[in-house]
């Protein structure tokens, strides 16, 4: 279709005028709509928080009050007694210690090994670079159930070899290793996409200065990786802290389990006192709530680093 310039510009002005009137009208209705949307989303936001608030409220009440008067009864007693009792009766400090024993070394190793891998893959050109990166990223996506049987058998066999059956199986060390092996894939992927954005010149000048590979990594690259490492660290800590599966299948002694897996067992054992359990759950959630309130920026950017490549 051909059009002269005159016709074209005429049509353009008409279109613009039309759009403007439409815009004015739609801005008014849009404002009303926005108000409605805001109220609607706000209502659901409160509903979203309600289960947590309710559990917290319940954790402040003694269970016998609820047995006597029902859930809707007016509270006569509100205090932190359930919390004190949960800490002593559920041995929560032990479980927290178990969690720390698994989470801290695992996160440290994931970050260290992931950044080493990402460093070599992005800074040195080997033919296998992309293949290695692909291997690591794909490995991270495999269902954990797919690797469980052989890992379990290998742990037992290695344990027998060393002379201690519980060398890896039923030991924090084994759980740490499997977390590291799996999550390293994610860390490598995220860190390598971050490293690609660091100018090559920085590496080149280090090489020209005669830096060894070791210096190049620890003195030049690692300091530059602080922001993604912080985000990944927070994200990995939350994930491993919240992990349920590996601690469940690779550990058989309850007293060695981390707090989230222990909570599952406590659900059965303390089934007679739900409000005590509520207090236990709130305590178990505390570290993640700290992440939510204090380290949210790192958590969110860690979460999205892997998905949006940047």
């Amino acid at each position: 279709m051909t059009m002269t310039d005159d016709q074209k510009s005429k049509r353009e002005t008409e279109k613009a005028q039309k759009a403007e009137t439409k815009l004015k009208r739609s801005r008014g209705t849009q404002a009303v709509k926005d108000r409605v949307i805001s109220v609607f989303i706000g209502f659901f936001a409160l509903a979203w928080l309600f289960p947590i608030i309710w559990t917290f409220y319940s954790s402040l009440r003694p269970y016998k009050e609820i047995r006597a008067g029902g859930v809707l009864s007016f509270p006569k007693e509100l205090n932190f007694n359930n919390y004190f009792e949960a800490i002593s009766r559920m041995e929560l400090p032990t479980y927290f210690f178990n969690t720390a024993l698994i989470t801290l070394p695992a996160v440290f190793l994931i970050l260290l090994l992931g950044s080493l891998m990402a460093f070599v893959v992005t800074r040195y050109s080997f033919k296998a670079n992309v293949a290695l990166l692909l291997l690591f990223t794909a490995g991270n996506l495999l269902p954990p159930q797919l690797v469980f049987i052989p890992v379990f058998k290998m742990y037992l066999a290695l344990g027998d070899l060393v002379g201690d059956r519980r060398f890896l199986y039923d030991s924090p060390f084994g759980v740490i290793l499997i977390h590291v092996a799996f999550q390293m894939g994610f860390a490598t992927f995220v860190l390598s996409s971050y490293m690609k954005t660091i100018p090559k010149e920085i590496s080149e000048s280090a090489l020209v200065d005669g830096a060894s590979v070791f210096t190049h990594f620890f003195r030049v690259m690692l300091p530059l990786l602080r922001p993604p490492l912080a985000s990944l660290g927070v994200l990995m800590t939350t994930w491993i802290y919240n992990d349920f599966f590996w601690a469940l299948v690779l550990m058989s002694t309850d007293s060695k389990r981390p707090i989230t897996s222990a909570l599952g067992r406590l659900t059965g054992e303390f089934v007679t006192d739900y409000n005590l359990l509520a207090a236990g759950a709130m305590i178990a959630a505390l570290p993640t709530l700290i992440v939510f309130f204090v380290l949210r920026k790192q958590f969110v950017s860690g979460l999205t680093l892997g998905s949006t490549k940047g």
């Binding site: 989303i41 309710w54 996506l141 159930q145 020209v208 590979v213 070791f214 949006t308 940047g310």
Partner: protein
């Protein structure tokens, strides 16, 4: 300085220099260690076991002595497909889970992200409210919802039902899957919202403005302008939705234990592999789970490695 300038002029020489320096003996060793350790760990604990499980799924084995492994062909799979009706029940639950996530939870998360990104009134509070469940562990989520739904919990209290006539939300087949899906969505919606929000931040604001000046309604802007511009994030979100639906395990396990109150593939695998008395039917279940997740895994990798491969 002058040597750097010289090198700049003679790229060939610089290349040589870089090569010589990069691969001194010590450096070669360092590089070997840098990729060797992570690769060994990852292959030994992820890829080798994954392949071993695939092999084992074609065998009979009680899981004790390696010599006892016997080739079974497709017997384990035949057993699952033709003699294990619960497999089909579980598959149905997984499909319902996937459809619910795909049609309801994920779109809701996207919609929320879009509205919050428009900075409607109160968007900061809303964002926090929806994001809170994302940091909680599923064990804690199990306890929290149990508080609302158990026989003497809040919902039954509000319905005015005594314990004896209370609705068993987790036990009754009419309700349990929907209750579980609600709980799972409570977390999933916030997760998708966060991912999408990060993607939306990257969409050029002028695109949206242009659409609004042209008189497009909010819905049209989203459908015609924003959504297509978000293609990479859309793929990631779809992949995450599918993978999460297939992997669903923790929540069900926390509520029902390994008894399988609600059959789902993740729990079927667990029932057959955990403990000493493993059967290779469990391996076959794991492989089925893996085969179902291949398509999303491959599309995730294709999305993320587009630039590297081309």
């Amino acid at each position: 300085m002058s040597s750097a300038a010289q090198l700049e002029k003679k790229p060939v020489k610089r290349e040589k220099l870089k090569k010589r320096r990069t691969f001194s003996r010590a450096d070669r060793l360092t590089l070997g260690v840098f990729i060797g350790i992570p690769t060994f760990l990852h292959v030994a604990l992820v890829w080798f076991p994954a392949l071993a499980t695939i092999y084992l799924s074609f065998t009979y084995w009680t899981g004790i002595h390696i010599e006892d492994i016997q080739w079974a062909g497709f017997a384990n799979y035949e057993n699952i497909f033709f003699n294990t009706p619960i497999f089909w029940d579980a598959l149905r639950v997984n499909v319902v889970w996937l459809v619910w996530f795909g049609v309801i939870a994920t779109p809701l998360g996207i919609l929320l992200a879009y509205q919050i990104d428009r900075e409607i009134r109160g968007h900061k509070f809303y964002q926090s409210a929806y994001y809170l469940p994302v940091v909680l562990s599923l064990a804690v989520i199990g306890v929290i919802w149990n508080f609302l739904l158990r026989p003497d919990g809040l919902v039954n209290g509000l319905l005015g039902l005594e314990i004896s006539e209370a609705v068993s939300f987790f036990g009754d087949d009419r309700y349990n899957i929907w209750v579980i899906l609600t709980m799972a969505s409570w977390r999933h919606i916030g997760y998708i919202m966060l991912l999408y929000l990060a993607g939306l931040k990257a969409v050029d604001a002028s695109l949206r403005e242009a659409a609004s000046i042209d008189g497009a309604t909010e819905w049209q802007t989203f459908k015609r302008v924003v959504f297509p511009a978000m293609k990479p994030v859309n793929i990631i979100v779809i992949v995450i939705t599918i993978i999460e639906s297939l992997r669903a395990f923790d929540l069900i396990y926390i509520i029902y234990g390994s008894s399988g109150g609600l059959p789902i593939l993740g729990v079927l695998v667990f029932q057959n592999i955990a403990g000493e008395g493993a059967s290779m039917k469990g391996a076959a279940y794991a492989v089925i789970l893996f085969l179902l997740s291949i398509v999303p895994i491959v599309s995730y990798l294709r999305q993320q490695f587009k630039e590297d491969v081309s």
